[in-house]
């Protein structure tokens, strides 16, 4: 361009333009600034400036302070993270959590996005987790599921839900798309029924009601029943996402594969699913995020996952006042997981929409 650029505005001019262009703009700016300053200052003061970090003085020191009482975390973090897991073995619980995180990070790398590799990573990660937690082999002492708790239990329920729910969702999606009317209609009915129910009612049914309707040998542990229920719920939602992905695969793809003589399973596994999963990827990650948050609901049917262990951490005697600190700590843990996963999802979505041609 050959025209002369307008002279660069001074900083003040720039500020005026950006924040005080009109009276309304100015009002919004001032209000926002005030709010940011107020909330920011209060938070900063509470969380850092007036907070008590020193655990050695116990709960007493907190009563005198105006800010947060982080010493409750210092004193109780083990119960929040590991629940009732035996004290000397808690390193196993910690290591198990690391294994799950590693597994999640690995499966976010595109190089591992083939059905086989993802399945291998998840099976390996879950096995490592399970062996570490449960023990009984490799010289690890046995720790029953009833003493699992805290973050490790939350992660276990989530991972197991995905591990069962994800394949199930693909099966449900395929059944719902079946050309055989009775199969597709029945499946549709099941999916819609599950989707119309609140998750809590499903967890409740599987934890408390189902033993009524199952023969004794099929009942299993309550933990696994709840996992199955939560997997079913996950699968019902994920199945619709997968189905959406399948609808995005051109009709001609299946026909071309048919004309080449591929069998149903070959068409599904080689042609339909790879393309459908790619279409469904952003929504799938979103579903994982939602499902991770919803794992927390198992607290209602009596599991000692991270929220319940948090309740226990402040619920006793001297720390009774420190609910805000404990909940903030747990919220922060959730935030780290959920925020990074959803940012990753948003990144993928942007990348894919750019990559489209």
């Amino acid at each position: 361009m050959t025209d002369l650029a307008p002279p660069a505005p001074g900083m003040l001019e720039d500020l005026r333009r950006r924040f005080f262009a009109s009276p309304l703009q100015a009002l919004v700016s001032l209000l926002s600034l005030g709010l940011i300053a107020l909330v920011g200052w209060k938070l900063l003061n509470w969380a850092l400036l007036s907070a008590v970090f020193d655990a050695s003085q116990g709960a007493e020191a907190c009563h005198r302070a105006a800010g947060a009482c982080w010493s409750v975390i210092a004193a109780r973090w083990r119960i929040i993270l590991f629940g009732l897991y035996p004290y000397e073995e808690q390193w196993r619980s910690a290591l198990a959590c690391v294994a799950v995180v590693a597994m999640t990070v690995l499966s976010c790398i595109p190089a591992f996005w083939t059905g086989r590799r993802i399945a291998a990573i998840w099976l390996a990660g879950t096995t490592v987790f399970y062996v570490l937690m449960k023990g009984g082999v490799l010289g690890l002492s046995h720790v029953g599921e009833e003493s699992w708790g805290g973050l490790a239990l939350t992660l276990f329920i989530f991972v197991a839900t995905c591990l069962i729910g994800f394949p199930l969702s693909i099966v449900l999606a395929l059944l719902r798309r079946s050309e055989l009317p009775w199969i597709s209609r029945t499946t549709g009915l099941i999916i819609d029924a599950v989707r119309s129910l609140p998750l809590i009612s499903i967890l409740f049914t599987f934890a408390i009601v189902l033993p009524f309707a199952l023969p004794h040998w099929l009942q299993g542990d309550k933990l696994y029943r709840v996992i199955v229920g939560s997997a079913l719920f996950f699968a019902a939602y994920q199945a619709e996402i997968v189905r959406g992905g399948m609808q995005g695969v051109a009709h001609g793809q299946g026909e071309a594969a048919m004309a080449l003589g591929l069998s149903y399973w070959q068409r599904v596994s080689r042609i339909l699913l790879p393309q459908a999963m790619r279409n469904a990827l952003p929504a799938t990650i979103n579903q994982f995020v939602i499902s991770f948050k919803e794992t927390s609901l198992v607290v209602i049917v009596g599991f000692f996952e991270i929220i319940a262990s948090g309740n226990a951490a402040y619920g006793t005697g001297e720390w009774r006042f420190a609910y805000a600190e404990v909940y903030t700590f747990i919220a922060f843990i959730y935030f780290v997981f959920v925020f990074s996963l959803s940012r990753y999802g948003a990144f993928l979505e942007r990348r894919m929409s750019v990559g489209e041609r």
Binding site: G252, Q253, E255, A256, A259, L260, G261
Partner: protein
Amino acid sequence: MATLAQSPNPDIALRIEGMNKYFGNFHALRNIELTVTRGEKIVVCGPSGSGKSTMIRCINRLEEHNSGRIVVLGTELNDDVGNIDEIRREVGMVFQHFNLFPHMSVLENCVLAPMLVRKLPRPQAEEMALRFLEKVRIPEQASKYPGQLSGGQQQRVAIARALCMQPQMMLFDEPTSALDPEMISEVLDVMVTLAADGMTMICVTHEMGFARRVADRVIFMDRGEIIEEAPPETFFTASRNERTRQFLSQILNH
């Protein structure tokens, strides 16, 4: 079934007798009669919606016919899944919109079916795929993805992919009508070569030059019926049928 499979004349590649096809209440194909001998090249033309695609899609069961008989390469097309599999193995098809698998490279597109269906080991399948890619004149694109190729190149890959199954008969459904004009001839050239090699071909196309050069017979369809069936020279110059002449004047004069 066994009696039909050994059809009396092994020279007959396809026999359709009294075939009817309905979409709901809509009568899409009426009383189709057609016999194709091995090595014969048939061109099918006719106005849009006349049932050309439906007819050739019935030949490999992408559509199911409602009555009448279809015998392909000595095997009757009926509810027997074994027969359907066998016919699909032996009959290749090329589509208007290529339908290449976008998540696979050109080479993977070509080796997929031979490996899965014919159980060929990978090295052999790849060697054959490269041979056919050479035949359609794009061996250098083997590692590219379909999205990186032009329309004409994609259609040639689609032909190579079908050939890799070493079919005894090929079906083409308007293979050039989704292409830009300058790419049509590269695809037609490949098809001409294929015809010269003696492949049995049934082509739905409006490329009348191709029909003149290659076809043994031209079939004209309208409203689900075969109206006329003639060698190209008589078809183009001495058609007795009013609708055929009207159709020809429409597509030849513009």
